[in-house]
């Protein structure tokens, strides 16, 4: 079932960067791509449960700040060891200046 929640404002995220969003006991990462589109994934790296919020975004890739696990944040795909399990992604929509993600 859809469950859209407001995660942040469009200006809260720099271009080619991410912010952390916590909701209902879960943590998410919200991304703004170089093309100015918004994406969302689980907040924790699948390798060692480190939060991705301090990670580096380069083009389509988020890199875990701790052990360099890399994921395509648009698809969630893990891009090689030590990250072997994909990141869960969430639908995103922008309405006005607000970014919503579907946590349903």
């Amino acid at each position: 079932m859809d469950k859209w929640v407001e995660a942040c404002s469009v200006d809260d995220i720099e271009e080619e960067d991410l912010v952390r969003f916590d909701h209902d006991g879960r943590t998410y990462a919200i991304y703004r791509s170089p093309e100015n589109e918004y994406f969302a994934t689980d907040g924790l790296c699948t390798h060692e449960q480190v939060h991705l919020e301090d990670g580096l975004v380069m083009e389509d890739v988020i890199e875990c700040p701790k052990h360099n696990g890399r994921f395509n944040y648009k698809t969630g795909q893990a891009l090689g060891a030590p990250a072997c399990v994909n990141l869960k992604t969430y639908p995103v929509k922008v309405e006005g200046s607000a970014v919503y993600i579907d946590v349903g």
Partner: protein
Amino acid sequence: MAGVVIVGAGECGVSAAFALRERGYTGSVTLISEEPHLPYERPPLSKASKPTQKLIRSQVEYKRAAIELCLGVRIEALDLSRHILVACDGSSWTYERLLLATGARARLFPGTEGAATLRTFDDACCIFQRLYPGTKLVIIGGGFIGLELAAAARAMDVRVTVIEAAPRLMARAVPAEIAAVVEQRHRAGGVDLRLGTQVTSMMAGGVSTADGSTVQADIVVAGTGAAPNTDLAERAGLALDNGIRVDNRFRTSASDVFAAGDCCSIPHQGGRLRLESWRMAQEQGIHAAASMMGEVDDFSTVPWFWSDQYDLGLQVAGVVASHGITTMRRLSEDAILAFQRDVVGRLICAAGVGPGNRVAKDIRLAEMLIARGTHLSSDQLSDPEVNLKSLLKAA
């Protein structure tokens, strides 16, 4: 079919085995480990109060990749001319290509031979099962393993003394400014830090130091560096040079024999470099696998490592120069970066310390700037308003 045999199943050997398959190698792959456990990650061992075995890969992944794991096997002899490895129990393997990924072992200085060391899961179990609130722990050596253990032990209310021969902590690996932050944190955390003196002998219940004092101890752990495991290579007649000597493609002095990870030294800026780092072990293993399959690229990955102590995260990219020009950048009250450039202004090293992963993004960007040999001014490096990503894109 003889295929590839890998001796040593740490981060390097395991990475190499899977990299062979990922690159389409179809011959047999045999991974031999002296330890009885499924290959596990070593970095967590010095960072948590309860040792856990975080497996590098699950058992089923080895099966799926058709990697034959031989656990609890110590290789005694290597016959280079016949391409044969022989184990203690007499079993043997022939190889078409051999990768030595034998790692390193703890080094002990005279007078400290009775100290415990921390390299393996079993070592960690031995140490942590003896730590309780109030236990007196003496750690010899203020390097990464010793300091991580100190932080983990303080979290258990253990009484910790760290004795370091150099006048400051982590002298080999990080700039002084970064070490000073870590030193302050340990002192605030209740560690009795004794710098500039060394342990001369151990006796029942304590240690003696060069400055004439004695320190009580229920347990003594030495974190005084590591020596490469080169015995097998040496007996076989391979060239050594602070580890097994390899070229930029991890080829040893013998044909069809490669070495990678902590056990080898690679060419670096006219000299040789032996690294002891989790990610370098992985990267070298992957590169050695490619090299065994005939790929000809030279290894040029910038060294990178991290340490966690208390709430602090420390990261370093590049190799610290003992006499480099250092430029500092303050990211916030509690997070700083230190950059080093060479004489012509190219970035060669970046180190940072801060809470959690605060410095990670900048160190990763610095690593890419180092890899590109980017020239940077001290103004660019010191100003926190100058975005390293924009410097990288402009480079």
